[in-house]
């Protein structure tokens, strides 16, 4: 799975299965020195891939199914090919999971990134849906702050 800058100002998502490649790329979306939200998904049921960079979304269908895999490296800033140049830029956060998230879940993660919040876990206010004394009894003992 690779996401990279394609040409001057496009983004590209590539999935590989041996020598076979499945890829899609956006139109010009990259503005130099401007923050860009990038999202990529793959649905195993349909083999559909989607890449969104900023307000531009492209999608396609892969001819092969991506299998369960153990990856030895997860790089940011470089590729696995020795001839490739390294990156010059910045990244606020990266979230990668083997699940097809909903638009709402993706939006929530993206919003947290811009706020500098942890995307793996968060502190949530105790609900009053259950007996108030129960929740207060439990939650009042969680006194330290989120880390």
């Amino acid at each position: 799975m690779i996401i990279y800058r394609y040409g001057d100002n496009q983004m590209l998502l590539s999935l590989r299965n041996g020598i076979t490649q499945c890829y899609i790329f956006t139109e010009a979306v990259i503005v130099q020195n401007t923050w860009l939200t990038v999202m990529a998904t793959y649905a195993s049921s349909s083999r559909n891939i989607k890449l969104r960079a900023g307000n531009v979304t492209v999608s396609g269908t892969c001819s092969f199914a991506v299998t369960d895999r153990v990856f030895s490296k997860t790089y940011i800033g470089r590729s696995n090919w020795a001839g490739d140049t390294y990156s010059k830029g910045s990244i606020v956060c990266l979230y990668a999971v083997d699940a097809l998230l909903s638009e709402a879940e993706i939006s929530d993660i993206s919003d947290k990134m811009y706020r500098g919040e942890d995307t793996l876990q968060s502190c949530q206010t105790c609900s009053r849906l259950f007996l108030p004394s129960f929740n207060e009894w439990r939650c009042l003992r969680c006194l330290s702050f989120c880390r």
Binding site: V70, I76, D84, K88, S90, Y95, V97, L100, Q121
Partner: protein, 166 residues
């Protein structure tokens, strides 16, 4: 003592016998925050007292798939993280975390300088893409130099995960 905590709003003490007059002293042994209610809102978080890291009136929450995600956590430096391994994950990093490099309102960003061949590597990670229905990658990035003319050259690899086993 009960073998397991019993969650209740009220306690009723019913006196069954007494001698001369009714008199008693009673107290409750209250279990501290060690186990969440099976039907409570904190089902996915704070299941142990050591996990109670939120302020009063709050509980720690993670999504159902959070334990499978690998994340570059905002504001935590140039370090990948998983929910199960927040601070000890092996990684190779030459990129630099800058607390002022992020967008307004954020907690900084990791910067990459091509001159110094800077990058991050999180090591081995399992993605059960087929079993779990697919994958999702979300990121916020900024490119600092123009792309090169040659199409297909890789300027920024957000996630490069070469296959080693299947």
């Amino acid at each position: 003592m009960f073998p397991a905590p019993i969650y209740a709003r009220y306690i009723r003490i019913v006196v069954l016998e007494w001698n001369d007059w009714i008199c008693m002293r009673a107290a409750l042994i209250v279990k501290s925050c060690s186990t969440c209610f099976s039907n409570a809102v904190s089902l996915q978080g704070s299941t142990a007292s050591s996990a109670c890291e939120c302020w009063a009136g709050a509980y720690k929450y993670s999504s159902a798939f959070g334990n499978r995600a690998i994340v570059l956590v905002p504001g935590r430096g140039a370090q990948f993280s998983t929910l199960a391994n927040r601070n000890q994950r092996l990684f190779a990093a030459t990129a630099i975390f800058n607390s002022t490099a992020g967008p307004p309102g954020s907690k900084g960003a990791v910067t990459f300088d091509r001159v110094f061949s800077q990058y991050l590597d999180s090591g081995t990670h399992t993605f059960n893409v087929a079993t779990n229905g697919g994958f999702t990658i979300v990121s916020v990035v900024k490119f600092s130099v123009p792309g090169e003319a040659a199409m297909g050259e890789r300027k920024l690899i957000l996630a490069r995960v070469p296959k080693t086993t299947m």
